[in-house]
């Protein structure tokens, strides 16, 4: 092997932090004064690099850093709750499904014509029957001629059994439940489904209820699966 080859080997050994020389290389260094000088210079160079890097990163940490961060953390309040794209997507999908379902039911003349002659129907969430809260009668207000959205006051019972409810497709239930759980912390998300009750006490919350005149609301097919 030429001197050049030995020198490459030397550099590789030093760069990898190995302190012991390969037997072959060590033998060459004993016989080649020039390579020995090169080796000593490289040992010096790598040593200087290591100590230079240590100087670079082991600067004393200013005493003021942690108190500054603590003060800012205190000013910032609680850390943000998790909210990722998945939840956002689930929320948007759930809202879109609700809006589209309502829109289709309202606009379809076939549906309107069909339901006109029928009596009221009550949908049943069979799978969820054990967990579903007692039915909340929505409104007893006089039915206007046209479809209308009407705001009503709904009281959240103290026993915690009955809670504000929304229609959600079966496949969207888990995602929607998670979305609602995270909702109170997401102040920048506009939501029309419900509104957060004021903190500290249970009191009546206002929620927009959908009242559709002469409309037969049936369970969505997918919610029975």
């Amino acid at each position: 092997m030429s001197c050049e080859g030995y020198r490459d080997k030397l550099i590789d050994g030093l760069a990898s932090g190995e302190s012991l020389l390969d037997g072959d290389v060590a033998g060459h260094l004993r016989t080649c004064a020039e390579c020995k000088r090169f080796y000593e210079a490289q040992v010096h160079l790598f040593g200087a690099i290591d100590s230079g890097v240590r100087v670079m990163v082991n600067e004393e940490v200013p005493m003021s850093l942690l108190p500054r961060v603590r003060r800012l953390v205190a000013e910032n309040g609680a850390p943000r709750r998790s909210w990722n794209f998945g939840w956002g997507f689930a929320a948007v999908a759930a809202a879109a499904v609700v809006v589209m379902s309502v829109g289709l039911l309202r606009r379809s003349p076939e549906t309107t014509g069909r339901v006109a002659g029928r009596g009221p129907a009550v949908s049943q969430g069979r799978e969820e029957s054990a967990r579903v809260a007692p039915v909340l009668p929505l409104t007893a207000a006089a039915a206007p001629k046209h479809h209308a959205m009407e705001a009503k006051r709904v009281t959240v019972p103290e026993d915690g059994e009955s809670r504000p409810q929304v229609i959600v497709l079966a496949e969207e239930r888990a995602a929607f439940a998670r979305f609602v759980t995270d909702l109170p912390e997401e102040k920048d998300v506009a939501v029309a489904l419900t509104r957060r009750a004021s903190d500290g006490k249970d009191e009546a919350v206002e929620t927009a209820l959908l009242k559709i005149d002469e409309l037969d609301v049936k369970p969505l097919e997918s919610s029975n699966q």
């Binding site: 160079l45 690099i49 670079m56 850390p79």
Partner: protein, 188 residues
């Protein structure tokens, strides 16, 4: 009267006290990590910026950013690595903006051409060596640079660097090897 049966989500109302206790818990957890990792964030930033006040600002911003997003972190054991990456990226951004500003302010200034330099031995002992090392570090690829900085911090073994960055030990070693070789080439 029309009636609707509606599906009730599992946990609609989260009480204020529950939320507060969750926040307090997260706050406590963060506080525990702050003391341990604050210096690490500073040192990584200082390794890039070489300016104590700037490094302190960056470390502060990185810690604050980490705090704001603390609950997004699914594995709290990864906090150190996460913070290191935040601090490193922020320090690089700051360093680039400082360089841009310097360039704008002194457009005509060219770096001095290198003449036949001193020997390796002379270089290693000279005060100029540190400045050249810093420049050589700046030219390293970012992933090499981070490994060199972390491996240089006192008290951190290569195994810890590997755990911190979430990369295999072999990768840490090979990055360090290539980085040291490149640095030596530039400084030779």
């Amino acid at each position: 009267m029309r009636e609707l049966v509606l599906i009730q989500p599992g946990r609609v109302l989260v009480g204020p006290s529950e939320r507060e206790s969750e926040s307090c818990h997260a706050h406590r957890e963060f506080e525990e990590r702050l003391a341990e990792c604050g210096s690490l964030a500073f040192r990584v930033a200082y390794g890039v910026l070489r300016h104590a006040a700037d490094a302190e600002d960056v470390a502060q911003e990185a810690l604050l950013k980490a705090y704001r997003n603390f609950e997004r972190l699914r594995e709290p054991t990864r906090f150190r690595g996460w913070l290191v990456r935040i601090a490193f990226r922020m320090a690089l951004d700051r360093w680039r903006s400082v360089k841009r500003r310097e360039k704008r302010e002194a457009p005509g200034e060219q770096p001095e051409p290198r003449t036949a330099g001193p020997s390796v031995e002379e270089l290693a002992t000279s005060s100029e060596f540190q400045a050249r090392l810093e420049r050589a570090m700046e030219e390293l690829p970012e992933k090499f640079r981070l490994v060199v900085l972390l491996a240089g911090i006192q008290g951190y073994t290569l195994a810890e660097v590997s755990g911190m960055l979430g990369i295999p030990m072999g990768t840490v070693k090979s990055r360090l090897f290539l980085a040291r070789k490149k640095l030596a080439e530039k400084l030779r």
